[in-house]
Structure formats: structure tokens, C-alpha cells
């Protein structure tokens, strides 16, 4: 365990070096968030009917997504893991005295935390200063904030566990870009990353709420604004714990199986 913690610490510290890159990323993410809210504002204005989620709650949903992107999207290339599978670098890692799964998990988590830590607060701060309805509201009470914190932590862990499953598939496809894009394209949509899930038609929701992806974005973002009130929030957090367990087990199984069949191509 100590070994993994030091890998984790090392990676966080080195990740924090990339401040300039983060600066430009922040601008892009902020701009993207502002556009999305403008579009949704226009949609809300077009219909007089009451919607399942208010514009303010939607704005919070989008700002949280844009600021915490690094923690919860699968298309992030975290470190050199994908590359090490294709180049065969992974064979070196196998000779070292640790479990590959835990090592990669620590590495990936650290990379995301470092990138996320640099980016999330400027966006949230800026979003707090905007005029309504763009302004990011605070959670309605302390209890909600605490629940959001734990839910977000779980989201991040589930994301890394899902990423591990994705990496295990690269052993078969050998095309990191293809595997990542395929996985990420579907997952982000089903997580509510493109359009908030409560605004989607029933069939999309029915599908999304049966798969693990919604627990990475939809759950914490709705808990934050109070759209998932207290008893429902706890239920959703239980679902997160369950999905975390399931994805961890599946990822370890797939990785072990992939490593059992690995053939190293010289070089």
C-alpha cells in the first residue's frame, strides 16, 4: 500500500507542474460552459411548460461538469498507460514487484487529481461572479454540500475504475485512440456530459440509469443543486458504491485475463 501511495504523491506533484497548459484549458472549458448555458437558456425561453429541472439547476450542472471535467471524463489521456500497452513498455512494469492494476489505478487517479486541482477553482469562481441565470448557485445547505463532496469522490473513483476497463480493452484492439474515442463517446453522453440527463427523453434516461456511467456525472451534479433531495441522494450514493465495486471487480478480471494472453513483440 505504501508503494502505491508514493507513486500517487509523485504523480500529483509532477502533474501540478503543467500550469500554463491548464490556463489555456480553463479558458476553453469556461467558454464552452457559457455557450451551453446560452443554448439551454434559449430552449427554456421557447417553452412555457414547467421542466423537470430548473434553468439554475441546469447551470450548476454544466458549470460543475466544465470545472471538474478532468476528474470525470474518460477521453482524458491519463499519463502514459495507453501508450505503454502499445509500445510494450508494459512488460517492464510487469517485472516490478507490484500489482499492475493498483499501480495504474494510483497513477491515473493522481494524474486526474493534479489536472483537476489546477483547473476547477478558477472556473467555479468565475461562474460565481456571473449574472443570473449563468451564476453558479451555492448548495442549499451544508448537508447537501457534504453529500456532494462524498458523491464526487465516488464519481472520481468510478471514472478511474471505468478507465481501467477501457485500458484492458486496448490489449485487444491495440488502437488506443480508437478504443478511447469509442468508449468515451458513448460514456460521456450517457453520463449527462453532453446534455443534462433530466432533460433527455424517457428512452435515453431508461438506458442511462441502467448503466454505470451516470454515476460519474449526473449523480453528484444533481445532488449539488438539491435536485436530488436528501433521501434520494443517499440512495444514489449507495448506487455509486455498488457500481464502484462492480467496475473494480470487472476491471481487475479483464486486466488479469488480458495479461494472461499478452505477447511481447520484441524490441
Amino acid at each position: 500500500m505504501k508503494g502505491y501511495i508514493s507513486v500517487f504523491r509523485l504523480r500529483v506533484l509532477s502533474g501540478l507542474q503543467y500550469r500554463t497548459a491548464a490556463g489555456a484549458g480553463i479558458l476553453t472549458n469556461f467558454f464552452w460552459g457559457a455557450i451551453s448555458i446560452m443554448v439551454l437558456e434559449a430552449f427554456y425561453a421557447s417553452s412555457g411548460l414547467a421542466q423537470p429541472i430548473s434553468l439554475e439547476e441546469t447551470a450548476a450542472y454544466i458549470w460543475l461538469r466544465q470545472s471538474l471535467l478532468m476528474l470525470v471524463v474518460l477521453w482524458l489521456r491519463d499519463g502514459e498507460i495507453a501508450q505503454s500497452i502499445v509500445t510494450g513498455q508494459v512488460s517492464y512494469e510487469l517485472t516490478r514487484p507490484y500489482t499492475l492494476y493498483s499501480y495504474w489505478f494510483a497513477k491515473s487517479l493522481a494524474y486526474r487529481l493534479a489536472a483537476g486541482a489546477l483547473r476547477f477553482w478558477p472556473i467555479l469562481l468565475a461562474a460565481r461572479l456571473l449574472p443570473a441565470p449563468y451564476r453558479l448557485q451555492l448548495p442549499p445547505d451544508t448537508m447537501t454540500a457534504v453529500l456532494f463532496f462524498w458523491s464526487m469522490t465516488l464519481s472520481m473513483l468510478i471514472t478511474v475504475a471505468l478507465a481501467m476497463i477501457m485500458y484492458a480493452t486496448i490489449f485487444t484492439t491495440m488502437t488506443p485512440a480508437g478504443s478511447v474515442a469509442l468508449f468515451a463517446g458513448i460514456s460521456d453522453f450517457l453520463a449527462g456530459g453532453i446534455v443534462p440527463l433530466p432533460l433527455m427523453p424517457a428512452w435515453v434516461q431508461a438506458l442511462a440509469y441502467r448503466l454505470p456511467f451516470y454515476t460519474t456525472q449526473d449523480v453528484p451534479f444533481r445532488i449539488y443543486s438539491g435536485h436530488l433531495p436528501y433521501p434520494l441522494a443517499l440512495e444514489s450514493i449507495m448506487a455509486q458504491v455498488m457500481w464502484l465495486g462492480a467496475t473494480l471487480v470487472l476491471g481487475q478480471f479483464l486486466l488479469t485475463r488480458a495479461l494472461g494472453r499478452i505477447s511481447v513483440q520484441g524490441g
Binding site: 500554463t20 497548459a21 489555456a24 484549458g25 479558458l27 476553453t28 467558454f31 464552452w32 455557450i35 451551453s36 446560452m38 443554448v39 439551454l40 434559449a42 430552449f43 427554456y44 425561453a45 421557447s46 417553452s47 421542466q51 484492439t173 491495440m174 488502437t175 485512440a177 480508437g178 478504443s179 474515442a181 469509442l182 463517446g185 458513448i186 460521456d188 453522453f189 453532453i194 446534455v195 432533460l199 433527455m200 427523453p201 435515453v204
Partner: protein, 260 residues
Amino acid sequence: MRLYSKYLAITLKAHLQYPGSFFLLTISQTLFPLSMLVGVHGLFLRFGRLGDWTFPEVALCFGVIHLVFGLSECFSRGFDSFSLLVRNGEFDRLLVRPQSTVVQVLGSRFEFNRIGRLLQGLLVLGWALLNADVAWSVAKGVTVALMIISGYCLFTGFFILQATMSFWTIQGLEVGNILVDGGRELAQYPLSIYKDWVVRFFTWIIPLGSINYLPLLFLLDRSEGVALGHMLSPLVGVLFLIPCLLVWQLGVKHYQSTGS
């Protein structure tokens, strides 16, 4: 032009050496815009309409943008990844050859798997053209062609500007992505749904509106004032290339090799 098509043929052959990988990448390229489209459709089911616009009309905007973005990613990707050439000093080699730098940089990279996005854009555009309420005429057909040409030029212009920046910064700058990715995101919808200042900025400073919004008004017979102006507005996107190429020439003059 002959040189360019030669570059094109070589890269295509190289890509097709790995058909499995090529196919997977092509498919995966369509997923992101496809999920966007499903999202937009879902929003229309929920809200009924977007301001004055119906779903086929928005799909028309959407299709054009993704089509032209796919085109420029396929054929002008060399400029997008240009900062690499500067950083490892390879641009020196291009400079000593007796050919224009623009053609050589264009030829340095093609991304054929973007054909996925391109085809999808084309399909969406086709569907939208059939389903939107358009009274067709020759002039309108010309306008659609102009929209596509103009969009390709505009995004290529963005890529060139982004590339030119790296003469000064050496590193690629993500700031350029605001223009490219942000612009693409923004122009998926008719400009008029945004705030006035956004509309003005993207009509007069960065002529994004000229690719789809302004000519769309003409297609739908909603243009106010001079119809011809709306019809020919895509030409602005083509003209946009001129200042971009001038800035590029300036950048080439300013170029100092990194030496390695």
C-alpha cells in the same frame, strides 16, 4: 496542386496499411457528433422548438458545421499539428525546398479517419435539406455549395492562425482551441439564439455566422434587406483566408529555428 495530390495519395496508402485501426478510428470519430445530435434532438422533444427554429433547421446548421469541420480536419490538419514541426526544427527542411510552405505544411499530415465526421455531417445536412421548409431554386443550390466551401476556408483559416502563433510561442497553444472547438460548438445552432454581443462578434470579427446562419436565412426566405447579400455572405469565409495567409507569411519571415 500536383504536389498536394501526391502527398494526399501517399498518406492515404499509409493509413490503409492498418485497415482495422483505420476503420475503428473512423467509426469512433462519428460517435461524438452523433451523441451531440441525439442530445439536440432530445432537447427539441423536450422543449418543442428553439426560438424561431425547428429541428430540421438547426440540423442544417449542425450538419454544415460538422461537414466543413471534418473537411478541414481531413485536408488541413498539417496546420493543426504545426507546432510540432517548429519545435523539433523540421520546418527548416520545408524552407529550403523550392515549394510554397503552405502546400508543404498542408501535405505534412492528413487525417482520413475524420471522414467519419465528414460523412455524418453530409448525411445530417442531406436529411435537413430535405426536411427543412425550403422552396428550392438554382440560387439556393449555389448557396449550399458556397456554405460548404466557405466553411472549409474559414476553419482552415483558424488552423493557419493557430499554426502561425507557434512561430512566436514554439509551444502549441491551447488558446487556439477556443476559436476552433468553441467556434464549432457555437455555430452548431443558428447564431440568433445567442446574446447580441455574441452575434455581432461572430458576424463581424470572426465571420462564423457567414457559414451557416446568414445563408440559412436566405434558404428559408427569412432574409431581411438584400437577399443577394445573404446569398453571397459565405464568400466572407473565403475572404477570411487572405488575412490569415498574410499573417502566415509574416510568421514565416519571423521564424527562428529552434536549431535541433
